[in-house]
Structure formats: C-alpha cells, structure tokens
Homo-oligomer: 200 residues x 2
Amino acid sequence: MARPPKYSSDQIMDAVLSVLRGHRPDEVSVAAVSDVLGAPSGSIYHRFPTRDALLASVWLRAGERFRASLAEALGIPDPVDAGLAAVRYQLEWARRRPAEARLFLLYDRAELTNTAWPPQLLGRATRLANELTDALRSVAARTPGASFARVRFALLDVPQAAIRRAASSGAELDGEAQRLVEETIEVLLARPEALTRMAS
Amino acid sequence: MARPPKYSSDQIMDAVLSVLRGHRPDEVSVAAVSDVLGAPSGSIYHRFPTRDALLASVWLRAGERFRASLAEALGIPDPVDAGLAAVRYQLEWARRRPAEARLFLLYDRAELTNTAWPPQLLGRATRLANELTDALRSVAARTPGASFARVRFALLDVPQAAIRRAASSGAELDGEAQRLVEETIEVLLARPEALTRMAS
DNA sequence: CGTGTTTTGGAAATCCGTCTCCAGAACCGT
DNA sequence: ACGGTTCTGGAGACGGATTTCCAAAACACG
C-alpha cells in the first residue's frame, strides 16, 4: 500500500558507476549522479543517507560481486592453476567492468570516504574482507612453502599493478601484460624456495 | 630593494607534505597548509597561482628527486643488479619519506588535479617522464630478451604494488615484502623465456 | 634617511556541494 | 473508490574551500 519506487538502489548505484568512468571517486557528486539518472537529488537522499554511504555501497557491491566470482577460481585444487585462473578472472573483469574494477581494486576502503561508515556497511565490509582472506588462506594452505603474504602478493597485489598500469594509460590490458602477471605468479607460487639466494 | 620572503616555496611545499601524511591529495586545502605553516593563505597564493599548481609542484619535486636518485641505481652495468638496486632504493625511499613516495608513486599525474596544468609545470612533467622512460629503456637494452614493458613492470609496477600494500595497512614495509619483490624482478629480468609455457 | 619593491596578513566575495524539508503524486489493499 | 503509505520533485539553507584584493610591513639601496 505504497507508491512504487521509480529509481531502484541498483539504478542509482549504476549511475554512480557511470559518473565514475572519467572521474575519481572523490569527484562523484550527488548532483552529477542525479543528472545521469534524470532524477532530483531528493530521490537519491531518500535511499542513501549520505553521499559517503552511497559511494561505500557501490564499493561494497563491486567487492561482493568480485569475491563471489573469484571464490570459484580459487577453489581449483592445484594452487598454481587456481592462481592462474584467479588472475585471468581479475584481468578479464578489469576489461569488462572497468569502473567497478577500478573502484574496488584500486581504492582502499579507508581512503574512499572521509567520514566513518555506518555500522551496517562496516559489517558488510569486514565480512567481505574476511571472506577474501579466507579464500587466500586456503590457497596458501595447499601451496607448499608459501606464506599467506606471498599468496596475497601474487594473487592480488601483482595483478593490481598491471590493472593500474593499464588504467593510467587509458589503454586496455594487452596480452603482454597478462603474460607478465602469469609468469610472476607462477614463479611465486610454484617455487617459493628456488630463489632465496640474494644477489648483491 | 625589497622585503625578504618569510616563507619559501620549499617551506610551503613541505607543509603540503605534512598535511599529506594522513590525508588524500584531494583533501589538501590551502587553509590546512596555511595552518601548518602558520601563515595566512595570501602568502601561499603569492607564490602559487592556484591550489592545483601547488599540488602539482609538490608532485613534481618529489618525482624529480626520485628520478635523480633512481638514475644512479639503474646505471649499474648488470641489469639484474641494477634492478635489485633500483627496487631497494624505491622501498627504502618509501620507508624514509612516506608522504613524498606515496604522492609520486601512487598517484598518477592525470588523476592528481582536476584542472589542466600550466605549461611550465607540464613541461617539467613530460621531461621527467621522458627521463624515467629513457632510464628504463637503457636497462631493457642491456637485458637480453626483455621488452621495455617487461622492465617497467618489474622495476616500477611490482615494487609499487608492495608499497601500496604496506601503505594501506599503515605498517612499514617488512622484510618479507621486500624479498617477494626482489624474487619477482630477479625472475622477470633474468629468465624472460624460461616460463612461456602456459598452464591450463 | 627616504624611496621603491616585494611580501605579509587578513578579510571577504564567490562558488560548489551536501543535505534538509515538505507539498504533492502515485500506487496497494480493502 | 478511498485511505494510508511511500516516493518524487524541487527549492533553498548551510558550510567549506578557493580565490581576490589591498593596506600595512619590512627590507635593500642610493
């Protein structure tokens, strides 16, 4: 017994993504979002208490989607195969959904907003972080000789370096970049001890 | 025959760095800088035409210092030794001058400001970029089988991934992170062809 | 010691973005 | 048809940040 919504939360968040192509997160203003959406700012504030909550929601939605699909890849038994699949998935995602990937992979939760997150969003964020940590930990567990830090470096940090490089030049991730990332994680996961000698 | 300056350009830029510890670049306001400096905003605008020009100048100064010291490391004849030295230097720099390193290594010139840079700063920026490119190219030239993209990935992107990780967790770069980076670049530079087989 | 030049020190104009508020519209269930 | 509830639509208060402006201050030099 109520008027039905004209703009759903997802539509509003999609409008944020659309503004995000071509602008930094801190540049995303409610006015810009409402322009893209064709709605007045009041409708946005009806659903999201603050601008920061809106931005945080978009970040969370992207992260939860990311995690859901990544978990599959990380489930592959052989750790190197799992790592390669995870990397390929990430790079493919960065190609297909640049705005969402850039937002989640390049911007830390802490540096996204100035104000503190509301408890509910904070809960979702810590759950997401825990789930990602667990997935990586399980890969580490079945990779002989590889620490958690090593797995995280190989499967998250190194791919992000490639994504960042491509994003800053505006071009798409090319084949060579992908090959470099795959080489790297293959070495880091398959032969943890092979190279401990230090050159100097 | 003039009143001597009380606040030099370098002092003002240092004040920006001080604000930058704990705030994103877009959060740096002229008011905050003038507070740190103990000077009114007028004195700052006397030297820098706009806020963006000030921020750009700080970025450029950091980059030019970075390049000057990195060039030494990259001059070492053996490419792997040069790469290791370059990486160690970068990580050491990130430890000792966190604000400057974060600003230059983590923020792209394009995403630092909204408005276009004045011609003079733009000139310095392109010169800096060219000098960095040349240094990497010369390493690539004496590394058998390594493309420019490979060298750049190994010597800039991968170390930055480690720096970024450490910066986001607030902790310092630990020994394990450094070892991971060194392993990685050693493999990427020393054995470009060793791993071209694709798993799948 | 006076003159000229540069810098300081603030005060305030101006702009932009967040957020509030409320009247009216639109729909569901009975 | 109608009452109750939720949503829209827009106007504007409010705060914060950039930038302008100018009188006063401080020094170098003749």
